[in-house]
Symmetry: C2
Subunit: 669 residues, 2 copies
């Protein structure tokens, strides 16, 4: 690191990049006081801050010590904030913060920027991949239905349920970004934060506490950068071998029904790896649609004999997956058990805090209590793993109310964002303690800093069953790429989407296009949606069945390649789905492409995300690309290609060592 300074300014540089540029006239550090209100309605937040002070820390003094540099920032001679700048492992640069008092609860930090910088990451960002030009509040919440104030779906969701969301609402925010200067920047905090990339000369990072530190890691290329990144945040394990054997079929309705659906699918030539039955623990119908019982125990009324048949299925090559989330339904056995053990989060008056999830209330198990964490792991082991489940959706994690009282005494406002990580850790450890890390799959939509080392895979959350850019099929792609650039290299989505509201119904075309995309991701998994009868399902007609059969053949054909790139993700943090610029960093066009991706180094996918398309325009970086279905070779640039349903725009590198495998793709159709 390199700190240059005069009496009126200093710059902190590292490995050739200026990261902080401070002067009396253009200060880089501000402290303030604010009084926030958080109104949560079923996981949607209305957040406002009444900011009464924001003070520029203009003056400074610098002291060089043997193992760090200390910069004291002051107002009118009184030190308010100290920066302790150190080099850490792998050549990272750390700037730790020490506040002189607890007078301030707001901070703004300016990271130096060039107008040409592109920015990625910040968790799962569904509307924008390149974040430059916008600001991103970082707070885990429902992602919203519609997520664009200009769409009628969003307006209806807002007016009816306060649930419309916006371009930045996400289950998984993270105060970490990657700059095209090839560094990552991480702010260590769990407070509400806002990363503002609208300014030419700096990025302004705001958060509502004095954070622990700011961390920078820098490398010369993106592959090394992701290795550095994932060394710090942790890496996803490899996927269980069985995952690659076919689609995980989202089925609900009981044991016999499940077995019938699997048999029906297999007869149609669909390769099936697992049946995923959310309702293994019961069903609840609400005005929203078909929901679940939220008591994480086998429900023998809905799934009779499952305790035996689950093992028969496994012997027959079909895994059985379930569902859990971190809340327990009021007055049901697990709630009562947790309540008796004193493990539920409390209200200020000492009573148990129950949260409205939409026509039913649940307790929040307090994961800041080691006993709460231990007990939930026991529930997972006892009720799920020992029962024979080979995986589950570990849903939710975003609903911690900011006004509940927690065992560790910390403000729930500061615990809120950390809850998804705690939730992932519990799932991870329950599996690991059972020695099943290589055989059980769990998947989450919520996330925060640190989830990388715990969760096998994220899924893209609850897309609407439509073609909308911010909440439909298209939104999955920036979602996959931004989570990838936040160190989560294995991503997938509900095939066909989930949210079936406000007149949106899934039609055949949407289901087929979504299936095509999923065949070129590490995991294929289908979902009926919240109103199954309103949605086209894969079994609704022979054409859809045949299409799914074809796409599962394509997917399983890629197994050797997928296993290799998944191993790369587990070993070095190179994501499975990658932005084009990761391998073509000289090509400026690649930096703004958010609806295409590389699957590993050698396959380029440009999913058709609009209705009624027979051809598709896409960009190929300069290389020799073979069109998967015709063998035609392209050398790069914008092209338009025939893209009938069943033949999604997919290309592979002619020079790939897997080209023989890829040559075989067309035979799978």
């Amino acid at each position: 690191m390199d700190i240059k300074h005069s009496t009126s300014e200093f710059q902190i540089s590292h490995q050739g990049r200026t990261i902080i540029a401070h002067s009396h006239n253009r200060p880089a550090f501000y402290l303030g006081r604010g009084d926030a209100t958080f109104n949560m309605y079923r996981g949607n937040f209305d957040i406002a801050d009444y900011l009464t002070e924001r003070l520029a820390l203009r003056q400074f003094s610098i002291q060089e010590n043997s193992d760090n540099t200390r910069i004291d920032l002051s107002i009118e001679g009184t030190t308010q904030l100290s920066l302790i700048v150190t080099s850490t492992a792998q050549g990272r640069l750390k700037i730790a913060f020490e506040a002189a008092s607890d007078d301030y609860n707001r901070i703004w930090l300016r990271v130096d920027a060039k107008p040409s910088d592109n920015i990625y990451g910040c968790g799962a960002q569904l509307s924008h991949f390149n974040l430059r030009g916008k600001d991103f509040p970082l707070w885990t919440s429902e992602p919203g239905v519609g997520r664009n104030k200009e769409t009628y779906t969003t307006w209806q969701a807002d007016v009816n349920d306060k649930a419309g969301g916006d371009y930045y609402t996400t289950n998984y925010p993270q105060p970490t970004f990657i700059s095209s200067q090839k560094y990552f920047c991480h702010l260590q905090t769990t407070a509400w934060a806002n990363f503002d990339f609208r300014h030419d000369q700096f990025h302004e990072l705001q958060c509502w506490e004095i954070p622990e530190y700011l961390l920078f890691g820098m490398e010369d290329n993106y592959i090394d950068l992701m290795e550095n990144f994932s060394d710090f945040f942790g890496r996803q394990p490899e996927l269980p071998e069985w995952v690659y054997n076919g689609i995980i079929l989202g089925i609900q309705g009981g044991t016999d029904f499940t077995v019938e659906r699997v048999e029906q699918a297999r007869k149609a030539g669909i390769k099936v790896s697992a049946a995923w039955c959310q309702d293994w623990q019961g069903i609840k119908f609400t005005s929203f649609g078909k929901r679940l019982q939220w008591n994480w125990q086998w429900n023998p009324e809905v799934y009779p004999d499952l305790d035996k048949r689950i093992h028969e299925l496994k012997e027959d090559g079909i895994r059985f997956l379930g569902y859990i989330n971190p809340y327990v339904l009021q007055d049901y056995p697990l709630y009562n058990e947790a309540k008796e053990l004193g493990l539920l989060a409390k209200k200020i008056d000492g009573s148990d805090y129950v949260v409205d999830f939409g026509e039913f209330d649940c307790g929040v198990v307090d994961f800041t209590n080691p006993e709460g964490e231990r007990w939930y792991k026991e529930v997972i082991k006892r009720e799920m793993i020992d029962f024979g489940l080979d995986g589950w959706m570990a849903d939710f994690g975003e609903y911690l109310p900011t006004d509940c009282v927690l065992h560790n005494g910390k403000s729930a406002e500061l615990e809120h964002n950390d809850w998804p990580r705690r939730w992932a850790k519990i799932n991870h450890e329950a599996i690991a303690e059972s020695g099943k890390t290589d055989d059980i799959l769990f998947f989450m939509r919520a996330g925060y800093t640190g989830i990388q080392g715990y969760c096998h895979t994220l899924w893209a959350g609850d897309q609407s069953v439509d073609w909308s850019m911010d909440d439909g099929l298209a939104s999955v792609i920036p979602g996959a790429l931004s989570t990838a650039m936040t160190g989560n290299g294995i991503h997938h989505s509900d095939i066909g989407g989930y949210t079936t509201l406000h007149g949106n119904k899934r039609d055949q075309e949407l289901l087929l296009r979504w299936t095509e995309m999923a065949a070129f991701t590490p995991i294929m998994r289908s979902h009926e949606g919240n109103r199954p009868n309103d949605n086209h399902q894969y079994f609704d007609d022979p054409a859809s069945m045949a299409h799914l059969a074809s796409m599962t053949r394509v997917y399983t054909h890629l197994k050797p390649y997928l296993k290799q790139i998944v191993a790369q993700n587990a070993g070095k943090g190179t994501p499975v789905q990658r932005p084009l610029f990761m391998h073509y960093e000289q090509d400026e066009t690649c930096y703004d492409i958010q609806y295409q991706y590389l699957l590993g180094p050698d396959i380029l996918v440009a999913p058709v995300h609009q209705a009624k398309q027979s051809e598709w325009e896409l960009y190929l970086p300069k290389d020799e690309w073979v069109h998967a279905w015709t063998g035609e070779v392209f050398l790069g640039g914008w092209i338009t290609i025939a893209a009938p349903i069943g033949k999604p725009p997919v290309f592979y590198r002619k020079a790939s060592k897997h080209s023989a495998l890829f040559d075989g793709l067309v035979a799978q159709l």
Copy 2:
């Protein structure tokens, strides 16, 4: 005044009210720096502030001088802002501001408050009369179509035209409020401001410059308070005598057509005072609907022989009114004349600034240039008064772009809010210089501080032709009351509303209910709406004609009473339409009633503002009230009364000295 202080706090009190309470821990003054962006689209503004500093001025020193008290507010020993506190005329208290430097362009002032205080005024507020519990940005703009983000009309207006507005958007903001502690508080500034009444202990007044001063006037009752208020801001003149003779009929379509409509109306028993022909200067059709030519000269193609017939009409007891606004249509004669004289506002590059008004562009005559002001007065005198017009709508005034360059060298951001006052002044002076103040009527929707002394009457702006609370018939009532509490006692509205967009069409019922309300306001004036053919018109069927005839008889019957209360407004600033609490200040219920009003001291009106009502619930303060149509006497409280169309809920005080006149109302039906 009374200033109490210790080393750590001071309070400024006046006539028994604490108005400023400052302490080190709870400072009342803040300075800051911000960088605002104003995006204007056809008069609708998207405004954002990037606030980089907000500093509490905690420390102070007080110096008592012979004629004032000076309070120096400082940060760490450096005085930043000085308050010069003086008593002024009529026992008002003035706090003038002196900034030590031009380092700061944002200020926040906290006026002391009690939790029980109710707040009124701030110009024309169409959604809320009692402003407590909300904040109100103060910036003159289009009011918006729908004005409520939860309505479908608003959403469509936003998405299609950025024009939906919100609860605070208004043509006429003013940084002046009245507290139920019976004082007015005025901030002398033309900058963007926000008055925040959400806090229990204080009102926080923000503005984007260092304002000149804060002014308080206090009295023991609301009648005296309005006299004090209007002594300071000016008072509306009395209305021309002819106004009371009947309705001002909004007609478009040419000389013969106008005369025919007037004759038709008279035959139907409708009392007509004037024909108001917006299109006297020409017509333009746009996708919005029927619009005007915007070249303020008689258009003999549309109105042949009007130069003669206008005088015949006047002899026949019918006045002829026209239309003007402060912009001139590009490439038309007045634009060319203004351009040649160098009177148009400029762009930064020196070229003329033309503003998009919706499919046509206009020049902005620079009223900061005395020559521009003089020339526009000449246009009014030459083209309108000398031609024989007896009045006009003086439309617009809200569209001054913040990035234009003005003759007086002042920032257009600071001139923007003042433009309506300048526009009113030009109209007022052109009329006064012609010696016609008592005979010509002009009416405006835009306003700002100081308009009170210039404009005869405001109208409520462009309501939608619907029943919506924030933009339909209902919104006129808080609009009338809030402008009244801002010193504009004469208010009226387009009978039937104006904005006919997004599927809204005026039906008969709405027109009839609106007519009923207008009969109990100082001026009756109809409007065809922007899409006349989509709207029910008074001449569309005999029932509507008969209803209007009846309501014009009611209105003209009230002439002696109306003249008297209008004279009270001109003489003492007592508004014509008054909130109930003005005369019943002990009755707490009255303070939150925003859809009823008193017409003068003796008539109470509770307009039916919902569709399909046969009866109506309303509140009567404790008094003896005679129902106008049945003679039934009520003694106060919530009542429900029959309210068929044609018999709006109207009551008069039994003890009124005009009771004999009011007894005659029913005979007019």
